[in-house]
Subunit: 358 residues, 2 copies
């Protein structure tokens, strides 16, 4: 039996996407070979790459002066690739640190640039107000992570950094709600949450940023080279890109990002409302900055948590354990998690609380 | 209908591997989720990673002082990662240039090291004798590519570089025949030929080489970090590693590398013998250095070649076009290509030659 998979990533895929993979596994589009066996330089696969860019452009309203790239190495690959691509003439860079991932990105950047920490998340998961930020108006870029998966902290809006190119790690939030990409110099997302499976990273970069790379930048991460050859500097991760293409088709079938955002809002509201109304579960993040995607919650003891996780598995609700660094439980509600899964989770949480309170 | 896929890579998978993927696509090992959805830090997947290392150790007789790593970024990622990992204390490195891939590796290395070209391939595809090599006995490492896929040139034996750590790009030759890994400091192979699908690269590195990295080395490519955490510095390409595991099981079921090598030898001999006996097709590579894996062959004109490739497709023999840089035709005979496929190819080539000679 298929389970509801609440993992933070690699995460759940829509059933329809798995069905499509299954349907054409042995013979992709009448080629006589599986998509896993198809050459990345064949016309049919290059067409997929081009059409995928067009679909992303329409879905996310990406202006023509942005390049859409597909890379290997995950988000952490980009933690290195971004400064290597952008700091040739200006080594001063700004980083917002609001959780583990933006902290790690800032640490990576120190090998290539002078890192200024703009602000850091507060103990209760709040993000300090703009007047407390130490922004550098001459920075090569300002970097932030809109949604932090581990502590469940999310920016309430896009930070205003003036004319400095803004960069966002959207690995856990891309396509979860609409956003205005023209406010960004670069956004990127590793695929294993809302874009398919682990092994490919989407980078969308404004073309005026393409000429600032260090000589030590490996060609496979060179945005300028990648944009000149349909991301095919070397063998692309063919199957992961194919799955991304199916995911984008699925988002389009759901009615686009606006429709998905409505469902996501309901999913998160239901769960937070239940947690807040309960005296059994807790989430201590400042309400303004609560993640709409990854919802961590605590129980009264680690013994209770263990029983909770075990019983959840028996009820077909899987991978609810929190990240090792913070403990507790966590429900990740990416696009592929149906509203029904959240309803089932809340029902289980309530039954568990009643049982344990007796 | 499934085709015989002669592509140089991404390449053919064994039917049994596709069947296994198909069988457990929706529910992997009773987890209730697809392997595409499983977390890389789950116990069940970490077990796969550990067991895969054990199987590789047995299959390739890898001594205990070697680390087995799984990385993203393909072979070209390693073109950068290798010098970044190895030249902290010694920037002098040796490269054999015997084709496009070793040439490109040498070019990449120039951003991080002082590159000495040991020797270059001759016009007729020969590799100059040892007494013509300009080896540096104090180099940090000596690098070569045993089999070059584009020009179809292969070393007849492992080059003797004395005490300098030898590095080999085995992307197209790994598991095609047995070799003594204790002669190497490091071998690596991108997966999309004999190890599964594009998106993961195997690195096997001797542990005395783990402490020589430059500060600019991205963590995701840091061999020392990777060896300390089961390659899980960041999210690994889960599905590609899973397919590699299935490929290794398949090699074991074939009787191991020795048995596969016998079949490979027959496959290559049959095709070369046919080409050499024909006055219609030609391969001009020095016989001592002919690739046993990628067999390029010419026809008398580009018009004939086009008809040949078209008719081959009609006969279910696909992706026989040579690399754009050299033209002509090419048959890649990786492990998954059954002997039957080579027989069918030769039969077709012969019929085509007879038809065109009339």
């Amino acid at each position: 039996m298929r389970a509801y998979n609440f993992a933070a990533g690699p995460a759940m895929l829509p059933e329809e996407v798995l069905n499509q993979i299954n349907k054409e596994l042995f013979n992709w589009k009448n080629t006589g070979v599986s998509v896993m066996e198809i050459g990345h330089r064949t016309k049919i696969f290059q067409n997929l790459l081009e059409n995928l860019q067009i679909k992303l452009k329409i879905l996310m309203q990406i202006p023509d002066n942005y390049k859409i790239l597909f890379l290997q190495g995950g988000a952490q690959g980009q933690f290195a690739a971004i400064p290597m691509n952008l700091v040739k003439y200006n080594k001063d860079v700004d980083y917002f640190v609001t959780g583990i991932w933006s902290k790690r990105a800032a640490d990576y950047a120190k090998a290539y640039a002078n890192v200024n920490i703009v602000t850091e998340v507060t103990v209760n998961g709040g993000i300090p107000d703009k007047h407390e930020w130490s922004l550098n108006s001459k920075a090569a870029y300002a970097y932030y992570c809109p949604n932090e998966t581990i502590n469940g902290v999310q920016f309430a809006s896009i930070p205003d950094v003036g004319d400095v190119p803004l960069i966002a790690d959207m690995t856990s939030s891309i396509l979860s709600e609409p956003f205005d990409i023209s406010k960004f110099g670069l956004v990127f997302a590793s695929a294993q949450k809302n874009l398919g499976i682990a092994g490919v990273t989407l980078v969308i970069v404004r073309d005026d940023l393409l000429n600032n790379n260090l000589d030590i930048l490996p060609n496979i991460w060179n945005y300028k080279l990648l944009s000149a050859c349909n991301s095919s500097v070397n063998t692309v991760p063919v199957f992961a890109i194919y799955v991304m293409d199916l995911m984008i088709d699925w988002v389009i079938k759901q009615g686009g990002v606006e429709e998905i955002a409505k469902v996501n809002k309901r999913k998160a509201s239901k769960l937070y409302n239940y947690i807040d109304s309960s005296n059994f579960y807790s989430n201590s993040v400042d309400k303004t900055y609560r993640s709409q995607v990854n919802i961590p919650f605590g129980l009264q003891s680690s013994e209770l948590l263990e029983i909770f996780l075990d019983m959840a598995v028996q009820n077909n609700l899987k991978y609810l354990q929190g990240h090792a660094l913070v403990g507790g439980a966590r429900a990740s509600l990416y696009n592929a998690m149906p509203e029904d899964g959240v309803d089932k989770l809340i029902e289980f949480m309530d039954n568990f609380a009643i049982l344990k309170k007796i």
